[in-house]
């Protein structure tokens, strides 16, 4: 059984079929790219997998556990981390606090610890800071931990989002257009980072991306979406030669 199994999910909004019959199986250590034109339903796929929407049909299974109808925060705790297309860091919190928010659900002190400085709380807060600083270090953002995210460059904010997602200790990491708005240097740094994480941590990564060179270079498998339908699945080379993909991307030859 695969780590993440997405089976024939469909999702409609009114008359619009945002996803039709999408399936995917991802194992630990794999990187799956999801590409397609705007409005192809890519982000909706992420939203269904992470529980923002419930699928109309089909199922999502993580580590053999059916998470299709689970609540968002419980799915995250099962091991689903994600970043967002439009960066969604908490603006009034520092970088470190942003990351700590993702650690907090794993923190083991209750409401008594919240109101009184019990030894348990102090040790848990310390453990949390250490873990978060480790992840910030890993993405190269340790020096910025006391900054406010809104004061950072776009590329740095993306890294903070990744650190925050890593702090959820995901088995599956969903990256929604991580390279959007980055300059070429930042893109290549990001590519390295994603590959390194995939090898070091060994989770499955699902990647939505418009920059084909990025997706093609690091993905093991690519799913091409168009108008909610999967038009091709395969290795980067197979997909590149698929006539339907060429048509969707370049238009039909007259």
């Amino acid at each position: 059984m695969a780590l993440l199994e997405v089976k024939n999910i469909s999702k409609s909004f009114g008359g619009l079929k945002a996803i039709q019959d999408f399936s995917l199986e991802a194992e630990a250590g794999e990187i799956h790219g999801i590409i397609g034109p705007n409005g192809a339903g890519k982000t909706t796929i992420f939203n269904v997998i992470s529980g923002v929407y419930t699928a109309d049909e089909g199922s999502v299974t993580l580590k053999g556990k059916d998470i299709t109808k689970m609540e968002q925060y419980l799915i995250t705790r099962e091991g689903m981390g994600r970043t967002f297309q439009n960066i969604r860091l908490f603006k009034g919190l520092t970088v470190l606090e942003n990351v700590l928010c993702a650690f907090d659900p794993q923190s083991k002190y209750g409401i008594v610890g919240g109101l009184l400085p019990t030894p348990k709380r102090l040790s848990e807060e310390k453990r949390g800071r250490e873990i978060c600083e480790q992840y910030l270090e890993l993405v190269g953002m340790a020096d910025y931990k006391n900054e406010r995210p809104e004061n950072l460059a776009y590329g740095k904010q993306r890294r903070v989002e990744i650190a925050r997602a890593l702090t959820c200790h995901p088995k599956v990491l969903l990256l929604d257009e991580p390279a959007a708005g980055l300059n070429p240097t930042e893109v290549s740094e990001l590519t390295d980072l994603i590959q390194r994480l995939s090898v070091d941590i060994g989770f499955a990564i699902l990647l939505i991306e418009h920059r084909l060179e990025l997706v093609m270079s690091i993905s093991h498998k690519i799913h091409v979406q168009n108008f909610g339908k999967t038009i091709a699945v395969g290795t980067p080379d197979e997909v590149r030669q698929n006539p339907e993909v060429i048509e969707a991307y370049l238009g039909k030859e007259e």
């Binding site: 968002q72 969604r88 928010c101 949390g128």
Partner: protein, 290 residues
């Protein structure tokens, strides 16, 4: 400005600050003005009166009873009046109606229980005033000031340094993202109501000591409301600054135009403030929210 005015202003402002922060916390998390906050203050103040003060238990048990009542009733109120609206992501209008209904219901319960009579907390202190230099400070003012300051400091610490506090702040910014980071949003909202209710309980007892206990005591919540608007809705620091300013202003106005005209000028000032700087003092200057 005489020292006496400063002292009185600070004392009044500190109670307004308690009301304003309790009010702002809910506003931050659910983005609506909780109009049941005032009635909750009254309810807690009366429960303190009947359970502890009346049987001669003294000040500390009275405060404890009021704070616990405030927290528990707020928690129950959240479940009854706001939970479903929150889960459905409904329009703020429903929160508005729900909170007014809840507040009116609380007031109704109090009126049925106590009638429209006035009640007085027993004298908690042997000396009602302390002379300090040339300034006369009432013991209750002094107590209010220190209790409020300590409470607000603890609150600030909880918000900054604990997971519940961070949860509250992250949910204030973006409920959906917080939930996608594994934060139990419902639990966080409950926590917010508990804290807000406890603050209402404390403020209720202080108002009861300062004035008298009567069923519509909660209408003083307007002062907290004004303070949080002056400070900039959503900013806790702003709410506290606004509260202290309001306290000073009232004290000065009372010495200038007498207590009869003071509310007129206060509300006039709020209107002017809304016209000139609707985002409040903090507005965009102070970025932090909770």
């Amino acid at each position: 400005m005489s020292l006496q005015i400063i002292v009185n202003g600070l004392a009044t402002g500190s109670v307004y600050a308690l009301i304003a922060t309790g009010f702002s916390l809910i506003f931050n998390v659910l983005k609506f003005s909780n109009f049941s906050h005032g009635a909750l203050m009254t309810l807690s103040a009366f429960s303190g009166y009947f359970v502890a003060a009346q049987s001669g238990l003294g000040l500390v048990p009275t405060i404890l009873v009021a704070v616990v009542t405030g927290a528990l009733v707020a928690l129950a109120g959240e479940f009854v009046a706001f939970r479903r609206i929150t889960l459905n992501n409904s329009s703020p209008v429903y929160f508005f109606v729900s909170s007014i209904t809840l507040g009116t219901m609380f007031e109704g319960i109090i009126t049925v229980k106590v009638g429209a009579n006035f009640y007085n907390y027993p004298q908690f202190f042997q000396n009602s005033t302390i002379k300090f230099g040339g300034v006369v400070i009432s013991t209750s003012d002094l107590l209010m000031f220190f209790c409020s300051v300590i409470t607000l400091l603890i609150l600030a610490y909880i918000l900054q340094k604990t997971r519940q506090g961070r949860g509250l702040r992250s949910v204030s910014f973006d409920r959906d993202t917080a939930s996608l980071m594994g934060i139990n949003v419902t639990r966080t909202i409950q926590f917010t109501f508990i804290v807000s209710g406890a603050l209402a309980g404390l403020a209720g007892v202080f108002l009861g000591i300062n004035y008298t206990l009567y069923p519509t005591l909660g209408s003083l919540v307007v002062k907290g409301f004004i303070a949080s608007v002056i400070g900039g809705l959503g900013s806790l620091t702003g709410a506290i600054i606004g509260a202290v300013l309001l306290g000073f202003m009232e004290t000065i106005l009372i010495s200038l135009v007498g207590s009869g005209y003071t509310p007129v000028f206060t509300f006039l000032l709020m209107l002017v403030f809304l016209l000139v700087r609707p985002s409040g003092i903090a507005g965009s200057n102070i970025q932090e929210k909770a």
